[in-house]
Every structure is written in structure tokens, then in C-alpha cells.
């Protein structure tokens, strides 16, 4: 019995990571329906940049790199969106799809050239091995718990931005009806770029945390992208809490599958995702009807 409780608990913690991966994607996908194929590669990029900053500036803890990384990734997101993606945002998903696919190959192979194919890791120090023991003998790592907290905070923060600020109101209006929003004076190119900037700022956080949690290499992006998208789609377009729920469902499914056989971990996750998608093609908590 306790094995199952344990795997559900581990699943929730794993799901928090997927939700962290997915936070920025959820924002961008919800606002402009952009299928950003390079999202996973941006997470890898952030992790590598953190590694580089840490060596360069001699930071003891990788968390300090966030001070540089978050603003940098925000600017990168803003500029890329403004210069490269906005001009290609049309009715079909195909043009932005190919552009982000192009960015994805550029990032993957650029990182491969600079940092080689060796797996890398950020050193989180004592925090990595600290753990609590719950009554009943279940142990929970302090770091996964911190990630859960960060994930919830980040998604909650984005939720606040979306529903409590002028910026969020403009973003939601644009998401609902871009033409009318533009007529009302919303500067959509700027707004989309801010959304992408925010998305990459969350990616910076995701990159640092996942880099401390486990090893990463230049080829990790696509797998992380799939998990992030699954979390977003299970939750429903435009719902940030939905993304958290989606991530947790995915994480728990994978951990339960892994209990039967390690080989079944990802398979179970994918099958649960597909089953949910067949039952609720618009996700569990769609913000509105399309």
C-alpha cells in the first residue's frame, strides 16, 4: 500500500517539474496559439547558460545565476518574438511551426558545438540530498518539495498577472479576439512579445531547477517539450492552474506506470494523455469555448 502512496507522492513532485516546464508554454500557447517547438530547447539553453554563468562569475550556488538569467531570457523572448515570430503569425500554425522548428535545431546544434554532447549538471549542494521523513516512513526530498513550491508560485504568479493586471486583461482580450483587441488600442506585437518574454523568464527558472535535479545535455529539449505540451493540453488552453493539474496527472501516471515496469513509465504517461485527450479534446479546464 505504501508503495502506491509513495508513487503518487513522487508523481505529484514529478508533475510539478512538468508544470514548471509547461508554465511559459501554457502562457504563449493560450495567448497566441503558438506551437513553440523550441520551448524544450530553451529550457536546455537556460540550464547551459546557468552553468556558464556559474563558472564565469564564480557563484557558489546556481540559484544566484537566476539574477542574470531571468532578465536575459526575458529580453531574448521579447526580441525573438518581435523580430522572428510575430511576422509569421498568421491563420495557419505552419509558418510559426517551421520557424520554431528552425530555432530548435539552431539551439540544439549550437549547444552541441559549444558544450559537446557530454551530460552536464548544476551543483545544488546540500539542498540536493536533504530530505524529510513523513510519518509512515515515507521520505520526501527537500529539493523536489522546493520545486513544487516554485512551480505553484510561478503558475500562481502568472495567473495573477493574467487575471489581476492591465497586461493580463489585454492578453486575455487578444487571446479571445485579436482583431477587436487591436481596434481597442491594444498593441498586439508588443503584447505578444511581452508574453514571450515572460514565458522565457519562467523557462530560466525551469532550466536552473531541472539542471540541479538531474543531468542534461543538448538533446533533451524535444522530450521535455512533449511533457510540457501534454501538461498544457490536459489542463486546457489558457488555464494556468489547469496546466499544474495536467502536469500532476502526467507525473502521477508515469510514476504509477513505472511501478509495474520501468519501461512503462513514459508509455503510461502518453496513454493517459491520449485517453484524456479523446475524452476531453479541449482539455479538462478550457477557459472558454473556441
Amino acid at each position: 500500500m505504501s508503495i502506491w502512496i509513495d508513487s503518487i507522492l513522487q508523481g505529484i513532485l514529478l508533475g510539478a517539474i512538468y508544470a514548471l516546464f509547461a508554465a511559459g508554454l501554457s502562457l504563449v500557447f493560450g495567448v497566441m496559439r503558438l506551437v513553440n517547438v523550441a520551448h524544450g530547447d530553451f529550457i536546455v539553453l537556460a540550464a547551459f547558460l546557468a552553468l556558464w554563468f556559474q563558472k564565469l562569475a564564480g557563484f557558489g550556488s546556481p540559484f544566484w545565476t537566476l539574477l542574470m538569467l531571468v532578465p536575459l531570457m526575458f529580453v531574448l523572448g521579447y526580441v525573438l518574438q518581435r523580430a522572428v515570430i510575430n511576422p509569421a503569425l498568421t491563420e495557419t500554425v505552419l509558418r510559426p511551426l517551421l520557424i520554431t522548428f528552425g530555432l530548435s535545431i539552431i539551439i540544439q546544434n549550437g549547444l552541441l558545438q559549444i558544450f559537446s554532447a557530454d551530460p552536464q549538471k548544476l551543483q545544488g549542494g546540500q539542498l540536493e540530498v536533504a530530505s524529510f521523513t513523513l510519518p509512515g516512513g515515507l521520505a520526501i526530498g527537500a529539493f523536489p518539495l522546493l520545486m513544487l513550491a516554485v512551480s505553484v508560485t510561478l503558475l500562481g504568479g502568472l495567473q495573477l498577472v493574467m487575471f489581476r493586471t492591465r497586461l493580463g486583461r489585454a492578453l486575455r482580450a487578444t487571446s479571445d479576439d485579436i482583431k477587436t483587441a487591436s481596434l481597442m488600442g491594444v498593441n498586439t506585437p508588443h503584447l505578444f512579445s511581452v508574453a514571450s518574454g515572460l514565458a522565457l523568464a519562467t523557462v530560466a527558472v525551469a532550466g536552473v531547477f531541472t539542471g540541479i535535479r538531474a543531468t542534461f545535455n543538448a538533446a533533451n529539449g524535444p522530450v521535455w517539450l512533449v511533457f510540457a505540451f501534454e501538461a498544457v493540453i490536459i489542463g486546457g488552453l489558457g488555464s494556468l492552474w489547469g496546466t499544474l493539474v495536467g502536469g500532476v496527472i502526467l507525473g502521477v501516471s508515469q510514476c504509477i506506470g513505472a511501478q509495474f515496469s520501468p519501461a512503462w513509465q513514459f508509455l503510461t504517461g502518453h496513454l493517459v494523455f491520449l485517453a484524456l485527450l479523446m475524452l476531453w479534446p479541449r482539455g479538462l479546464f478550457p477557459r472558454r469555448t473556441e
Partner: protein
């Protein structure tokens, strides 16, 4: 008393001088390519074989995304399935490899039927990601199949590879000819389909599904037809690819890059035209031939090209060119030709063929 009326007489034509010349030149080129391996080097035969199967894959993705509006990032599911079907049939069932190619295509079509039920429930971005995940599921399932080598993959027995040789025709030449046939047939089939009334209905659905359905087009049935046909073709091509490669593994056969390359070729060339995938495949191969030795820099150039072309030539290379010069080598449109005023009996006025779906 029959009234003599002055009626304007018109008719619809589907060919232009350019398209007729193209048809003759293409026919001659195919015949030339069919006999070419007898004086080409082995390296050239191998490169051209790859060219033809990439062309076939791209044409099929073009048909899906450019005409049926199905944005699939999971075509590698069918490609890998075709490859594995071939390995299973030849190594476990003693089937002749060339027969196994056809059965692999059939397997693709059979799997596409229930697959369509899932894929068609989704739209746009959801469809793209959903199909990708389905392909991942295929990969994870084949990772478990011990009898087909599981994760480490499996090699085709030499005795089976030898069966491909027909009389004095070398194995690589047979594979080349099969690839040529698939590439040409897929292109010709697309051309014939898109010029037919079914093709007209398909394009109507693509441009405005609601209007097309109001006009009586059964859009779901059309999409299903295209999905099953392209799945069949992709599986057949996948079987050919792995009959040539002689070794298959889940990571390679179900690699998302297969679909990424189709996407690249089709969109760079010009989606929604038949010339586009041909131009795209040429660009893809020229880059590869001249830059592949650069390793990962080559891929960076490929990615940068995708971004640049999408920014400055939104219709792709061919699409932009065709628009500028108003040219179409494989026209799918219909022209209304004014024959001028003709003294005609009213009952003899030629009827304008009206396009309907059924």
C-alpha cells in the same frame, strides 16, 4: 421555331502550354532516370534513391497538411511501422522482401483507420502534438518487442538482403527503381487527384470547410481518404528505407526528425503546390551534399534557412516564384476560356462543366 441567339461560348480548360510541356519533359525525365543507374556510380544511385524517397514522403505530407488540413507531426509512426512490418515479415515469416513492401503499405492503411478516429477529433496545435505523442507510443511499444530486437534494434539477415537482387539487376539498383517508382507514383497520384473533382472538393474544404460542406462535400470522408492513402504510402516508403538501411531500431525509425524534414522540405519549397516539395527536396539535398561535412554547423544552417525563408518568402521558394511570374508547371486550377461570340443554336450551347464533389 428555334430562336437564333447570340451566345457567349466558354469552356473550362485545365492545361496550359507550360503544363503540357512540363508533362512531356517529366515523362522523358522519368524514362531517363529509370535507365540512368546502368551508367551511374553506386554513390549516385544511392543518393538519388534517397532523393526519391524524401520526395515521396514530402509529397504525402504536403497532401496531408497542404490540402487536407491535417497537421501531423507523427508521420514517423507510419514510417517506422512500415519498416518494422518489413523486418517482421521477412525475418519471421519468410516473406519475400519486395512482397513485404506492399504488405507494409497495407499495414499502414489498416492502422490508419482507427488512428484517424483519434487524429480527427483534434485540430490545429492539438492535432500536431497529439500525432507526435501517438508516434512516441509506437516507439515505446516497439522498444518492448524482444523478438524484433527491442531497444537495441535488429539487422536484416544477409540472405534476405540478397533476395532483393533480381537476375542481373543489382540490389541497390532494384531499390533505386522502387524508390523512383514510389516518388513518381506519389507525385502523379497527387496530381491526378488534385485535378479531379475530388481534388476540387478537397481544396474547397481546405479553403472554407463550412462552405464546402454546405455545398454538399463530405469533408470527413475526403480527409479520411487522404489520411489512409498517405499512411499507406508512408509505411511503404518506410519499409523501403529500412530495406535499404538493413538495420532498424525504435529510436531511429520513430524519430521526429523524419517528420521535421518533411515539414522543412514542404514549407521551404512551397506548401499547397506539387512543385514545392520537388523544389524543397532539391534544396534539402543540395545543402546536404555540399554542407553535410560541416556536421552540426550544417544543421544550424538548415535551421537558419527555415527561419529566413519563412520570414521573407512566406509562400516558400516555389510559391513566391510562381506568384511573381504567374507560372504553374502542375496546374490544379481551372481556367474559363472565352471562345468569343458565336452564332449558335441555343440547344447546342456548350455546358460549362460544373464541379461537384460526388
Amino acid at each position: 421555331m428555334r430562336s437564333q441567339l447570340r451566345k457567349r461560348s466558354v469552356h473550362v480548360k485545365q492545361n496550359s502550354r507550360v503544363s503540357l510541356i512540363t508533362a512531356w519533359v517529366s515523362g522523358a525525365a522519368v524514362i531517363f532516370l529509370a535507365v540512368a543507374p546502368w551508367w551511374m556510380g553506386r554513390g549516385q544511385v544511392s543518393v538519388l534513391m534517397e532523393f526519391f524517397y524524401y520526395l515521396a514522403l514530402a509529397q504525402m505530407w504536403n497532401l496531408l497538411a497542404g490540402f487536407a488540413g491535417i497537421v501531423s507531426l507523427g508521420q514517423q509512426a507510419f514510417l517506422g511501422l512500415g519498416g518494422y512490418t518489413l523486418f517482421f515479415l521477412t525475418m519471421r515469416m519468410d516473406c519475400h522482401p519486395l512482397l513485404a513492401l506492399l504488405i507494409a503499405g497495407l499495414a499502414g492503411a489498416i492502422v490508419a483507420l482507427p488512428g484517424a478516429a483519434a487524429v480527427f477529433r483534434l485540430q490545429g496545435a492539438y492535432q500536431a502534438i497529439g500525432t507526435w505523442v501517438i508516434a512516441e507510443v509506437f516507439a515505446l511499444i516497439f522498444l518492448q518487442v524482444q523478438s524484433l530486437g527491442a531497444g537495441s534494434g535488429i539487422s536484416l539477415a544477409v540472405s534476405i538482403a540478397r533476395q532483393v537482387q533480381i537476375g542481373a539487376v543489382r540490389r541497390d539498383v532494384v531499390l533505386y527503381l522502387v524508390a523512383l517508382a514510389i516518388g513518381v507514383l506519389v507525385t502523379a497520384f497527387s496530381y491526378a487527384l488534385l485535378r479531379s473533382q475530388t481534388g476540387l472538393a478537397l481544396m474547397a474544404v481546405r479553403d472554407n470547410e463550412l462552405s464546402a460542406r454546405t455545398a454538399g462535400v463530405n469533408s470527413q470522408r475526403l480527409k479520411l481518404m487522404v489520411f489512409v492513402a498517405t499512411s499507406c504510402g508512408t509505411a511503404l516508403t518506410g519499409a523501403l528505407i529500412y530495406l535499404a538501411k538493413l538495420r532498424i531500431s525504435p529510436q531511429a525509425a520513430f524519430d521526429i526528425n523524419w517528420t521535421s524534414y518533411m515539414l522543412f522540405i514542404v514549407i521551404i519549397g512551397g506548401i499547397g503546390t506539387l512543385e514545392g516539395p520537388i523544389v524543397g527536396t532539391l534544396v534539402f539535398f543540395l545543402l546536404r551534399e555540399y554542407l553535410a561535412q560541416l556536421g552540426s554547423s550544417y544543421l544550424i544552417i538548415l535551421g537558419a534557412l527555415a527561419v529566413v525563408v519563412m520570414l521573407f518568402l512566406p509562400g516558400g521558394i516555389w510559391g513566391t516564384f510562381a506568384n511573381r511570374f504567374n507560372i504553374s508547371l502542375f496546374p490544379m486550377q481551372r481556367w474559363l476560356v472565352d471562345d468569343g461570340l458565336a452564332e449558335q443554336n441555343q440547344s447546342e450551347v456548350r455546358k460549362i462543366p460544373v464541379a461537384t464533389s460526388e
